[in-house]
């Protein structure tokens, strides 16, 4: 039985998903297993052989751009895993390499000046170094992406109905009416009212929120195992942001998809992802389960992000006001810790020795004076009395945020 026949038989997505996932979860239930592997085009089959059980395993990934001879290190040695059915949040300021990272993982970077190295294993299959032709088998069907700006990620001259199902039709011989039924089904999943009428719409006839729902539906169309959502709500109204994020989280849960949710707002991932990786200047500086991270963040940058979570009472533009200065130039990173110029805890050693990622109880961070340590407390007091601008007010901000997060 092929993938689309499940659909043709009218199995609702959730049922099909559960069926699908139960096979994944219990790979030793006999005959059906083979069938599932076939459904997914044989790509998943190597996962059993791989020693890592991760759906996605990224190791030391680097993407550098050659700009006039200088290397812009947009992604510089990133490693993490995403397990089946789990959501990972990647958080960081604008320009820290989140978009480049997610596109590099999928292999859809188009820049001719980009070079990517390291390892990306999808269910055990190495993706780095694969050609476009081979990668295309993964795109859409295995992993899909929801882009940052729904105003520009839908083709303005192609009807919604076709954009929803063209990739399905390209792979499988779906009749026009089957495709239409499926498109209606997809729009229903993402809760677009009057889905039938919407099929003949063009993108400009829909609001931003509706368009992003359509983008999510497109991403879900082939039932991918892994979904990337690259700041899916940054371009949208505040009121719509929550709806879209909740929709994503709910679909991820129901379908037991792996998900990588990229955002610059720590508050967004707090309730919607299982794990969080904090990114700064092309590197992951802290990584932990969401609960561990919020019960004790260790990296000063994470803490600064936390302090800058917009409170509902504040207008949107005050976000990130708590972090002094700007991220460093990725083409000329300072020696030592790249956060040093903005860190309230900075000490001389920080500018000399680059802190390495260390892991304590599966909580990783790269900092010489991790938050919560007595060294950090001493450093902060010293910096405050020395009048360091980024340290000023750090103590009061910390007071203000004590226990505010729920």
């Amino acid at each position: 039985m092929t993938h689309h026949q499940y659909r043709a038989q009218g199995l609702a997505g959730n049922e099909r998903r559960k069926l699908h996932c139960s096979h994944h979860r219990k790979p030793d239930n006999g005959g059906t297993r083979v069938e599932v592997w076939q459904i997914k085009g044989g790509v998943v089959s190597s996962s059993a052989a791989s020693d890592s059980h991760a759906l996605l395993s990224v190791r030391d990934l680097r993407t550098h751009f050659d700009v006039g001879g200088d290397a812009v290190k947009a992604v510089d040695g990133v490693s993490f895993d995403v397990h089946e059915g789990k959501a990972l949040g990647i958080v960081g300021e604008s320009g820290c390499g989140k978009t480049v990272l997610s596109r590099s993982i999928m292999g859809i970077t188009t820049a001719s000046n980009a070079s990517t190295s390291g390892s990306v294993k999808y269910s055990g299959t190495e993706l780095v170094g694969k050609g476009k032709r081979e990668l295309r088998k993964f795109w859409g069907e295995e992993m899909a992406m929801v882009f940052q700006d729904p105003m520009t990620s839908l083709n303005p001259v192609v009807r919604i109905g076709r954009q929803l199902t063209e990739h399905l039709r390209a792979h499988k011989d779906l009749s026009k009416s089957e495709a239409n039924d499926l498109a209606v089904q997809l729009l229903t999943w993402v809760r677009i009212p009057e889905p039938k009428e919407r099929l003949s719409n063009f993108p400009h006839q829909m609001s931003g929120g509706m368009r992003q729902r359509v983008c999510i539906a497109i991403a879900l169309a082939c039932s991918p195992n892994l979904l990337f959502a690259d700041e899916p709500t940054t371009a949208l109204d505040v009121t719509v942001q929550h709806q879209i994020l909740n929709l994503l989280a709910q679909q991820q849960q129901e379908r037991q998809m792996g998900m990588v949710l990229v955002t610059h707002d720590l508050g967004v991932v707090a309730t919607r992802t299982d794990d969080i990786a904090v990114m700064y200047a092309g590197k992951i500086v802290e990584k932990a389960s969401t609960s561990a991270l919020f019960s004790g963040m260790r990296h000063p940058y994470t803490q600064s992000l936390f302090w800058s979570i917009p409170k509902t009472s504040e207008p949107k533009h005050t976000r990130l006001s708590a972090i002094v200065g700007r991220p460093p130039n990725l083409a000329a990173l300072p020696s030592g810790c790249s956060f040093a110029d903005r860190c309230p805890y900075v000490q001389p050693i920080c500018r000399e020795v680059e802190p390495q990622l260390q892991t304590i109880d599966s909580h990783s961070f790269a900092c010489h004076l991790p938050v919560g340590s007595s060294d950090a407390e001493a450093a902060l007091s010293a910096n405050i009395s020395a009048g360091l601008p980024q340290s000023e007010g750090a103590a009061t901000r910390r007071e203000a945020h004590q226990g505010t997060f729920t």
Binding site: M106, I108, T110, S112, K132, R136, K137, F138, W139, G140, E141, A144, M145, F147, D149, T152, S153, L154, N155, P156, V157, V158, E166, H167, A170, H171, F202, H204, C215, I218, C222
Partner: protein, 317 residues
């Protein structure tokens, strides 16, 4: 829709008024006299005969009076008759405009058939050898004059290979389509060459811009093939300026194929127009101008309507 058509018609009338007035005044400014052409250069100048002819033709009336008279007649559908040949202008046009229009149409179609794949390939393989080779070829095509291409085509297909006639024109009505195409294909190809070069450059540059769009990346991330993305996602948004140029160039070809018409001895509009200009046959010049200007406006109106077909965002506005 009714409103749209009304504005278009108003615009057409305004354009025609402006164009005919300008042509009329330009031809009036030209030195030379249709009487010379009528009598022949060698004829003995009997002042009385000359005066009679001038009076008959109304050549002694003030310029504005002549224009208004002409306009009045034209408005009733009477475009007058040639000073020289006495042929009705409307007959001249109905015989000759279809010939030139067919050449222009064939040239545009042939140009498009080549230009779209070349332009798409150039954009897709930007900077690679496929792109540099086609770009060089296009550059050459752009810099060779039409008549050189025409001469080469005649030499190759008529003289060397003997496949096609070197000149003349077979009408569809009397000789049938095949015979007609045999005489049309070479001059149309000669005209198509430059158009192909212009079109393919335009397609290439617009396509390169389109391929940078987010929705192209999004389409890629859906697992669609490059071919599908190029043809189904990128081509349409890249074809708006191409359509504009097609409209403009089609109009330009209607009045500007004279060299090729001469070279291939084709009884088209351009051929006749040059003749009329030489003979100061203002009535014929005016009549042909009216038709070319009308064709221009009509074609560009069609192009405007096609914009909305290609880009749905324009439909509302």
């Amino acid at each position: 829709m009714g409103k749209v058509i009304a504005t278009r018609l108003a615009r057409l009338v305004a354009t025609l008024l402006a164009v005919t007035f300008l042509t009329f005044s330009m031809t009036a400014l030209l030195p030379g006299d249709p009487v010379n052409a009528i009598l022949g250069v060698d004829a003995v100048r009997d002042p009385e005969v000359v005066a009679k002819i001038r009076a008959d033709l109304g050549l002694d009336d003030p310029f504005l009076v002549r224009y208004v008279n002409w306009l009045g007649n034209a408005a009733t559908g009477d475009l007058g008759q040639s000073y020289i040949t006495d042929q009705e202008v409307i007959t001249t046009i109905s015989q000759r405009l279809p010939v030139t229009a067919q050449l222009a149409f064939m040239a545009i179609i042939m140009a498009l058939i080549l230009a779209i794949p070349i332009g798409v390939l150039g954009a897709y393989k930007q900077g690679k050898w496929q792109d540099s080779t086609t770009s060089a070829g296009v550059q050459v095509a752009l810099s060779i004059p039409n008549f050189i291409v025409g001469i080469f085509l005649i030499w190759l297909f008529s003289v060397r290979l003997g496949w096609l006639p070197a000149s003349n024109w077979n009408r569809i009505s009397s000789d049938g389509l095949v015979e007609n195409l045999k005489t049309a294909i070479l001059p149309a190809s000669a005209l198509a060459m430059t158009q192909m070069a212009i079109f393919s450059r335009l397609v290439r540059s617009d396509m390169i811009a389109t391929l940078q769009e987010n929705y192209i990346l999004a389409a890629r991330s859906k697992g669609l093939s490059d071919r599908f993305i190029l043809l189904r996602h990128a081509l349409r948004p890249s074809s708006l300026s191409l359509m504009t140029i097609i409209g403009i160039n089609f109009g330009a070809l209607l009045g500007g194929t004279v060299i090729i018409e001469t070279l291939f001895a084709i009884p088209g509009v351009g051929f006749r127009l040059i003749n009329a200009i030489n003979q100061r046959d203002i009535i014929v010049i005016q009549g042909i101008t009216v038709f070319i200007a009308t064709a221009y406006v009509v074609i560009n109106t069609i192009v405007d309507l096609l914009y909305a077909v290609v880009d749905p965002r324009i439909r509302k506005g």
